[in-house]
């Protein structure tokens, strides 16, 4: 059967690879999404949602007017920029993506996928897509949750803002930012896990790198994820922040939305290509791990 199947497989290699990647994605999602090991990722994503839900259950402390709504909108923008993208999504991606290969190395099971008739590049793509699906699904749900609990507090004024004002546009922008952030951070952490035995330290360096992006020379800025995400934020919060915090949100090298989206996708593809190169060199050496 091996020989028969080999010839059958050989006819449609790309179709087969796509199917292999899809099976791997499903397997990895099952393995990484519904596990106690990921509880802290759920907390990172849904912690603010729970807080907003609790707040929603309480009566509004002041008058429900346009000024209060504007404050809430700015608060959501700040939460997105400072918490969700810089911390929540960043560390969730760090946990999810570094574990995809490193976890199998720690659990001494990486040799099983390496002994399958599957190109290692397909393994990288399959695992990356699974990690991205997990991170993006959790954080998109969290953003939706935040949006719901924040604006539903304002009753009809809130719903009007969402459906007839700028709300939906902002929601779309945040969803796009979370999706692109998941892809960008995910690719970097997947790559780091294939280079370093312990990706925590390089992850911390990357965190610092992301923070200092605005003060870097312009030719270095495209080597960060936040460079591409910042132009996509629908609301600028930098003018309302004190000096150092404003630095984290200011856009020093503005680019168009299209350039930012395409640029981040290219950045992700380049880092993934590096991961594919690294995985071909990866050896099974459990004893030294």
């Amino acid at each position: 059967m091996a020989a028969e199947s080999a010839s059958e497989f050989g006819r449609r290699p790309w179709g087969l690879r796509a199917r292999q990647a899809w099976i791997l994605v499903r397997r990895e999602v099952r393995r990484n999404l519904f596990t106690r090991r990921r509880i802290w990722v759920y907390l990172l994503a849904f912690g603010p949602v729970v807080l907003l839900a609790i707040r929603r259950a309480m009566p509004h402390p002041g008058p429900i007017d346009a000024a209060a709504l504007q404050d809430a909108t700015r608060m959501l923008a700040g939460m997105m920029q400072f918490y969700y993208v810089r911390l929540g999504l960043f560390f969730a991606c760090m946990g999810i993506f570094t574990w995809l290969f490193r976890g199998e190395m720690v659990e001494r099971t990486l040799h099983y996928p390496f002994l399958l008739p599957v190109r290692r590049e397909v393994l990288v793509v399959g695992k990356f897509l699974a990690g991205a699906a997990i991170a993006i699904a959790l954080f998109e749900a969290a953003v939706l949750g935040c949006f719901f609990f924040l604006y539903s507090w304002f009753g009809s004024l809130g719903w009007n803002y969402v459906f007839e004002g700028a709300g939906l546009h902002q929601l779309g922008a945040y969803m796009l930012i979370v999706a692109l952030g998941g892809l960008g951070y995910g690719s970097v952490f997947l790559g780091l896990s294939l280079v370093f035995r312990n990706p925590i330290v390089p992850g911390a360096v990357f965190f610092g790198w992301e923070a200092i992006t605005p003060v870097l020379p312009s030719w270095l800025q495209p080597l960060s994820v936040t460079f591409y995400l910042k132009p996509l934020y629908p609301i600028s919060v930098s003018s309302h922040l004190p000096g150092l915090l404003a630095l984290f949100t200011v856009v020093t090298e503005p680019v168009s939305t299209l350039t930012a989206v395409v640029g981040l996708l290219c950045f992700t593809a380049a880092v993934l290509a590096f991961s594919c190169y690294r995985i071909r060199k990866t050896e099974i050496a459990y004893t030294s791990d």
Binding site: A2, A6, Y112
Partner: protein, 316 residues
Amino acid sequence: MTTASANVVFDEVTKFYGEILGVNRVSFSLEPGVTALVGPNGSGKTTVMNLMTGLIQPTSGTVRVRGLSPSDPEPFFRQVGYCTQFDSFPRGVTGRDFLYGPLRVTGFSRAQAEKLTHEALERAGMLQAAGRRVAAYSKGMRQRIRLAQAIAHRPSVLVLDEPLNGLDPMARAETLALFQELGRQGLHLIISSHILEEVDRISDRVVLMSNGSIVAEGRIHQVRREVQDHPMQILVRCSNPRQLAAEAFALDGVVEAKLQKDGGGLLVRTTDSDRFYLLLNRVAAEGAVEIDAVAPADDDVNSIYQYLIGSDEGAS
């Protein structure tokens, strides 16, 4: 006779782990059949098997299995199955899923994967326990489910690292019978084991390793004959061992002829076995001595191992 492209070929393969030498300029060409890879702890057997299957890459030299390179996994692993020594499994997996999942990823349809899973479980004697989680298996069962996974896609080359570890005597006998059957079907079976007596029963060839190098390689009888320092031992069961002993001592190369305690046999040590066999033919033809059985007493993997590497370390 097979062509080189159908063989498992190592050409001057060297592997360094940092500054530590794993294997040193290893070369061989293995034909179909059962090959025993033996040597003491740290001799490089597992390194050779990992190199053979691409889990590690050679520092220099080339590895080819039936003309395929391990760096091209799609065609390679359709032909090759590897049962490693790593006693670890994906969390929460059942025996059946452990086989079925990889077959699906490989590209088999659901029906094909189910059929192959069932077949491999049956061959490894694991059908009954297939629905249980692997975490609840005994060591022997874990060994057998790994073996089942290695053979599930019907590979033509099977690499088995200590496949008899943890098996009870009954399972061991069944597993050896399975290996023999696979060897007879024309598969390449490369088996490392420290249970030399048992691999000896099924092996056609031996690759003997020590300190990362090959000490001897080839068909077991041929390798044994090349070990000149130790005369071959031949046991002859016959009607008149005393007369045979007298005739044997007249031959060049016979260094010892020892009568068996029951008086029905003779153990001869000779550096020239061909000449002794000719003698046996002659005395049998003349009818002077009735020969019941002739068997080499140290023409096996274990003896070759003892002679070339020594008995103190023990193979593993």
